[in-house]
Amino acid sequence: MTVSLSGRGVGHSFGDLTVLDGLDFEARPGEVLGLVGPSGCGKSTLLELIGGLRQPDRGRIEIDGKEGEDARLERCAWMPQKDCLLPWYTALDNAGLALRNLGRSKGEARAEAGLLFDRFGLAGFEQSRPDQLSGGMRQRVAFLRTLVSRKDVLLLDEPFASLDAITRAELQEWLLPVLDEKDHTVVLVTHDVEEALYLSDAVLALTSRPGRVAASMKAPSTTGFPREQVVTDPGFTERREELLALLRQSSPSIAGGAR
């Protein structure tokens, strides 16, 4: 299949501070591109650049061959690090926001978003307010909200960073088949190397600021196996250690590597 998303020589600065420099990347429909890197390396900024929420200072980002900011915004749905669920809407109405914005009626939006609640293990929580949901459920509603937009490109910014380890592992295992079955192009930002390798088809490791590509790696095939089996497989752990070593090298020091 053709390339859906590509970046060439992408760089960005905030004032004098260069956060990203000379990044090349690409992803095809159905692929998950994992972005890992130390905090402050510009991963989140890169997502916003891809999504058309910002325009890069240098280089070009294309989606379906289109370069414009608006063209990218039109094709991407962004899931921010915080779930950003709106407290004045029910879970169901939060999930259907994209449809309401497209001018669909409340009833239509609810019916369509509601179809996914069962599959996402959220049945019975349609009318709950966000603050009545657990952290894991909130993230699932936020992901559902992103998916309901029917956009081709999904940009996930540390979707599980706020969760405890057990819930995170559960949601990773839940997300994998969801991502696999659709033809979305997914960019997944995470600081968790294991999560990146588990969920992605290819992983891009960034250096600390300014973020450059430290390594690009094919991820092992993980679909169809239980998560525990995958992440303890010698092939998987080998790549994990390799990536961690790379990230460690590219960070100047632990103390100096902070934001």
């Binding site: 749905a77 899931m79 950003c84 914005n101 909200r145």
Partner: protein
């Protein structure tokens, strides 16, 4: 039973405090202690009991005037609400407008109302016009500033998220900015309604033929101190009532909080 207990726990402390204060006042007035301490005739320092008596005797006169004042407050507050929310929304959408007119909005609050009220009476006469102008002017600031702060309190990530979900400016306003601003608007409205009562009295003092402020001015001139205090009590009651009504509306509308 539990609901009754909760209600009692909510209302009992302020009620007890008010009763205690009134009791002390009654005691001080009855024994002539207050008048003695101030070196005044007894009738100039009425007790709560005397005030209550006058309130009952002159109830129709006080009610008539209270109605006039209440209408002024409601209309002036209403004007300020509509204009304040409108101005806040306009300032929110236009950076240029905001920078240009924010000083003017702030300046509107520094106008000494007592000084300007008589001029308004000269301009607009003895009717309801100058009162509405004074009340609206006084209410405008807390409503506008609070609403504007509320509109700008939105998490930028929520806005970005909505932008990637097809939302334009008006949808972002409807779905995040306006709901986020509502609690702020209610805070502003509560402050506004409390000062609106003062505004109404100033407006009436500057020139009027009716209203509680007008009655107070007359009673003051005729040394009818007990009825003066009765008017003050009714004014306070109006303020508390309106404040409570806004609080109830807030609770009904902001169920998510």
């Amino acid at each position: 039973m539990k609901a009754v207990g909760n209600t009692a726990r909510l209302w009992l402390p302020p009620l007890l405090l008010i009763i205690l204060l009134l009791g002390l006042w009654q005691l001080a007035a009855d024994t002539g202690f207050l008048a003695g301490a101030l070196g005044l005739e007894d009738f100039l320092v009425p007790s709560p009991g005397q005030i209550g008596e006058v309130l009952w005797q002159d109830r129709s006169l006080i009610a008539e005037n209270a109605e006039v004042t209440l209408v002024e407050i409601l209309a002036g507050f209403g004007i300020a609400l509509v204009v304040g929310v409108g101005v806040a929304t306009a300032l929110h959408f236009s950076e240029l407008l905001r920078r240009a007119s924010y000083p003017v909005v702030v300046a509107s609050q520094t106008i000494p109302i007592i000084v300007i009220a008589p001029i308004l009476v000269v301009w607009f006469g003895y009717g309801i016009g100058p009162k509405l102008a004074v009340i609206a002017l006084i209410c405008f600031f807390p409503i506008t500033v609070n609403t504007l702060d509320g509109l700008r309190s939105v998490d930028p990530d929520s806005v970005k998220m909505l932008r990637t979900l097809y939302a334009g400016k008006s949808q972002i306003f409807r779905r995040v900015e306006a709901p986020a601003a509502l609690p702020y608007l209610f805070s502003g409205a509560k402050i506004a309604v409390a000062v609106a009562v003062i505004g109404a009295v100033f407006g009436e003092w500057a020139g009027s033929e009716r209203g509680l402020g007008h009655l107070m001015l007359q009673d003051n001139a005729q040394l009818m101190t007990a009825r003066l205090f009765a008017s003050v009590a009714v004014l306070s009651l109006i303020a508390i009532l309106l404040f409570t009504l806004i609080g109830l509306a807030e609770r009904a509308l902001l169920r998510w909080r």
